[in-house]
């Protein structure tokens, strides 16, 4: 492991996890999240803003784009923004040749369920009208991606492929608590706080809330990435099983010694770069 990878692991566990644990207002967590995510603009990649189906989106476009990836950002349904993912998106856009659309879907607690999945579905449907596209997301965004997939499958406009980075799959507070032998970022208390803010009065076992309870017949080829031992490793496995049960070809890659959604540190650590390269490879293999 390089010193950069080790440094990220240490900072995640020692600083970010400790901050996340604090029951601060979401506004302060949002500020902190903005500061951690690297958003250095990359040369040769175009950054733009676009309204798609009434949802404000950031669009990261490489020269001569060969496809479109809709990426639903993470942040526990309460944090994060398209902007905070533009660094990762730029790295992926450059390697894959895909244009990446990052919607600023509405966040809880101001806009609880179903605001976020409704926004994501609207953008996905609007993209589907123009032709095939790939779908992906990380953490809470991975949850939204699978929820969106279910509707796209019903529409008959399945994405070409899917990439899910440490997706959340089960938001039921009554679920069995994952062992999470080596969670570097994500304190369990946050899960409960997020669930309260986002799920609100909805049924947490509704497949549109917790996609592990959904059916995905005819799902597209899907690449899963997660950290070994992280809190959402069980959700990753459970969603991979659900997609396989629907007939999708599924690949699951687990990386050791990295925090939850380490891919955000593309350009900063070798393990993040490797993960992004795999995503790019997967996109190119499933046009």
């Amino acid at each position: 492991m390089t010193w950069r990878d080790r440094g990220l692991a240490l900072v995640s566990r020692g600083v970010v996890k400790q901050v996340l644990r604090l029951p601060l207002p979401w506004s302060i967590h949002r500020q902190a999240f903005r500061l951690t995510a690297p958003t250095l603009p990359l040369p040769g990649v175009d950054y733009g803003s676009e309204d798609i189906a009434g949802v404000p989106c950031e669009v990261v476009t490489p020269p001569n784009p060969e496809g479109t990836l809709l990426w639903l950002h993470g942040g526990g349904f309460v944090l994060g923004s398209a902007r905070s993912y533009s660094g990762m998106a730029a790295a992926l856009a450059r390697l894959s040749g895909y244009r990446i659309v990052l919607p600023n879907y509405r966040l809880a607690p101001e806009h609880p369920y179903p605001a976020a999945p409704d926004d994501c579905l609207a953008v996905a449907r609007r993209l589907a009208v123009d032709g095939p596209f790939a779908l992906g997301g990380d953490s809470a965004g991975g949850c939204l991606a699978v929820v969106t997939l279910a509707d796209l499958l019903r529409d008959g406009t399945a994405p070409t492929c899917m990439i899910l980075a440490s997706p959340a799959g089960d938001l039921d507070p009554a679920r069995a608590v994952p062992t999470a032998s080596n969670e570097l970022l994500f304190p369990l208390s946050v899960l409960y706080r997020v669930v309260a803010a986002y799920v609100g009065t909805a049924d947490p076992r509704d497949p549109r809330v917790s996609p592990v309870h959904g059916e995905y017949a005819g799902g597209p080829p899907t690449l899963f990435q997660c950290a070994k031992g992280e809190l959402l490793e069980t959700d990753t496995d459970a969603l991979a099983d659900r997609l396989r049960a629907g007939g999708a070809r599924v690949e699951v890659e687990k990386t050791e010694g990295v925090p939850h959604v380490w891919q955000l540190f593309a350009g900063r650590t070798p393990k993040a770069d490797r993960a992004i390269a795999r995503m790019a490879d997967f996109l190119r293999a499933h046009p």
């Binding site: 189906a53 579905l121 609207a122 609007r126 993209l127 589907a128 032709g131 529409d155």
Partner: protein, 333 residues
Amino acid sequence: MVLEFRDEGIFCPAGGFHIDPWRPVDRALVTHGHADHAYPGHRRYLTSAAAAPVMRHRLGDITIETMEFGETRDINGVTVSFHPAGHVPGSAQVRVEHKGEVWVASGDYKTTPDGLSETFAPVRCHAFITECTFGLPVFDWKPEAVLAAEINAWWQANAAEGRVSAIGAYSLGKAQRLLTMVDSGLGPILTHAAVENTNDVLRGQGLTLPETVRVTPETDPKMHPGALLIAPPSALDGRWARRFGPMSSAFASGWMALRGVRRRRATERGFVVSDHADWKGLNAAIAETGATRIFATHGYTATFRQWLESQGYDAQIVQTEFGDELVDDEDAA
């Protein structure tokens, strides 16, 4: 559902408007001026700018707003726009987008250019509402130039024998199509008032049509030897036409492709000229939309739906107020 099919016609629940409704409603988006699409009695009309003059001419004093082709408008959070349908001048498809889901109600359409109507523009969508008036493989239109040559040869032969060539064509669309196809150097072109009134409206909005002579009670047929007479089919059958003496009559309609129809109209020459897409046109148009859900109306809906299902579409039939009774009406020719 972005659009629903109700007793009064196609309805957008989120936007609170109808498309081509056949009963009076608050707000109607109307695809074109044909009588089975543009009904009287709506409180407000919204149409393409190019369709509005004919609509006013036919429906009188109506409250009408217009949009250019491709222009978008927000109606209660629903984005609507008009796109050329290539059926008659001004005819539009209506694109309706709500929460990223796009539906297109195509009204009546024709995919091949005719030099008169704005050329059909395919619009990508999730769900496509398509007519299938001529939704059987037997309907396979000849190229415009071939049809024109047939019609001109027929006119020329009649003129040489000193007979008037009378051709039955509906006043909006078909009549003007014929005017652009015929060679006006072959002789004078006489028009029935119903046709000529529509010509006036279309000329008024900038369409170029050859010179025509309006038939009035004073018109003396002898002054126009070897003329081509264009009139609604009903006028050619009645007393109005008798003054022109012995004449050769023809009927221009897609239905002339059917042998049975030709035989029933044995006294007439039939020209297979249609304002609608043929079998290939329908299939190409549907494929180009990228839609997975197809709603079939007007025509051979059952057969067409089966065909679409065999091609992997989620296809459904939509009943219209009049079912398939339009065979001899203006709109289904």
